[in-house]
């Protein structure tokens, strides 16, 4: 097919919806909302933020009722910190970038995926250690006694288990979002590569 023929055939394409979209259907689609990856991040973070806030506030109130003021005040400070951190992260991810140029949008999505992964990596290390310790404590309340800590196998098991948990969570994160980030990065490179070739020829 000649160049002209391809365009000729192409211009005869009526589109898959010759009649367009009817208003009711459009309303339904809009009501359903977005399902893109960034919106998923925002939804996950909002849920996470409220779970953290409710849990921390609840524990803080309980501590205050128990007259453990230092712990209660500490938890309230952490609570406010969490709120500010999550609000800023959600605001950043919610910035409208979809009508940017393709390259700018892909770069923004790539940054957001990495931001989201980084958030979980940090949350992972900060939260995994106390969670792991708490789990061990509930399994055996005497686990943190001197008797256990003086034994080498226990230290190896403790830190080995913790390291394994972190590694598993990291792998899971990369399994969920790492491939996506790589794909987007590849698209960015592809979009810009002819430019570098062109520049190279003229050097």
């Amino acid at each position: 097919m000649k160049d002209l023929d391809i365009k000729k055939v192409w211009n005869q394409d009526s589109g898959e919806n010759p009649t367009g979209f009817n208003a009711d259907m459009v309303e339904k689609i809009i009501d359903k909302g977005s399902v893109n990856i960034i919106q998923k991040f925002v939804n996950a973070l909002k849920m996470e933020m409220w779970i953290n806030l409710v849990a921390l506030t609840g524990i803080g109130i309980y501590m205050a009722l128990e007259l453990k003021w230092e712990v209660a005040i500490f938890l309230m400070v952490v609570d406010v910190g969490y709120f500010i951190y999550y609000s800023r992260l959600i605001k950043k991810l919610s910035e409208k970038t979809i009508d940017n140029s393709v390259l700018k949008y892909l770069q923004a999505v790539y940054r957001m995926i990495n931001k989201f992964i980084a958030h979980y990596k940090v949350a992972n290390v900060i939260l995994a250690l106390p969670l792991f310790m708490t789990g061990m404590y509930f399994a055996n309340p005497n686990v943190f006694s001197e008797k256990y800590f003086s034994q080498g196998w226990f230290i190896v098991l403790l830190f080995g288990g913790f390291a394994l948990a972190i590694l598993l969570l990291y792998w899971f994160l990369h399994f969920l979002y790492g491939k996506k980030a790589k794909k987007i990065q590849q698209l960015i490179v592809e979009l810009t590569n002819d430019e570098s070739l062109f520049e190279g020829k003229h050097k």
Partner: protein, 161 residues
């Protein structure tokens, strides 16, 4: 919903369908892509200040939706019959068969190259293509020549036209 938005969709539904069809041959994914395009167009409709042509803006949003490749699991609202994309075989005219070959060939290109060829086939100027893609006009020129030749050879080799 604003009537202006409905008008915008009616005036640009071909662009939306063409872009989505270039990124999938699966009717379910096609519906998902179209629906996400509509949602994203709606969500940025108020912030569209008319700095560029409406069609340029529609291209940008829809290419961004398709290139960021959705993974959709939500319940679908059918916008196109599941059979529509492939059912034409028995009654296809030569032009329709050729059109199907072109789409099939486009889908064999790299995802970023599909964006370039779609804009080229829709007669966008290099300047407009550069504006939509966010790359320089020299880069657009280099890409168009490369992708155009690639498309022609795919059509010739695979579909014998």
């Amino acid at each position: 919903m604003k009537p202006e938005f409905q008008d915008l969709l009616n005036n640009n539904h071909k662009i939306i369908a063409k872009i989505c069809r270039a990124y999938t041959d699966n009717p379910e994914d096609f519906n998902d892509y179209q629906q996400e395009c509509i949602v994203q167009l709606w969500q940025s409709f108020d912030s569209f200040r008319g700095a560029s042509k409406v069609s340029t803006w529609v291209y940008r949003v829809c290419l961004n939706v398709c290139l960021s490749q959705l993974r959709i699991k939500k319940k679908r609202i059918p916008t196109v019959s599941d059979a529509t994309l492939d059912v034409r075989d028995e009654t296809d005219s030569t032009d329709e068969e050729n059109l199907k070959s072109i789409y099939s060939a486009i889908r064999l290109l790299k995802e970023s190259d599909r964006a370039v060829i779609l804009l080229y086939l829709d007669d966008k100027s290099y300047k407009e293509m550069a504006e939509i893609l966010g790359i320089t006009t020299t880069n657009v020129g280099a890409k168009v020549n490369r992708v155009k030749n690639q498309l022609k050879s795919i059509i010739n080799e695979r579909f014998g036209h």
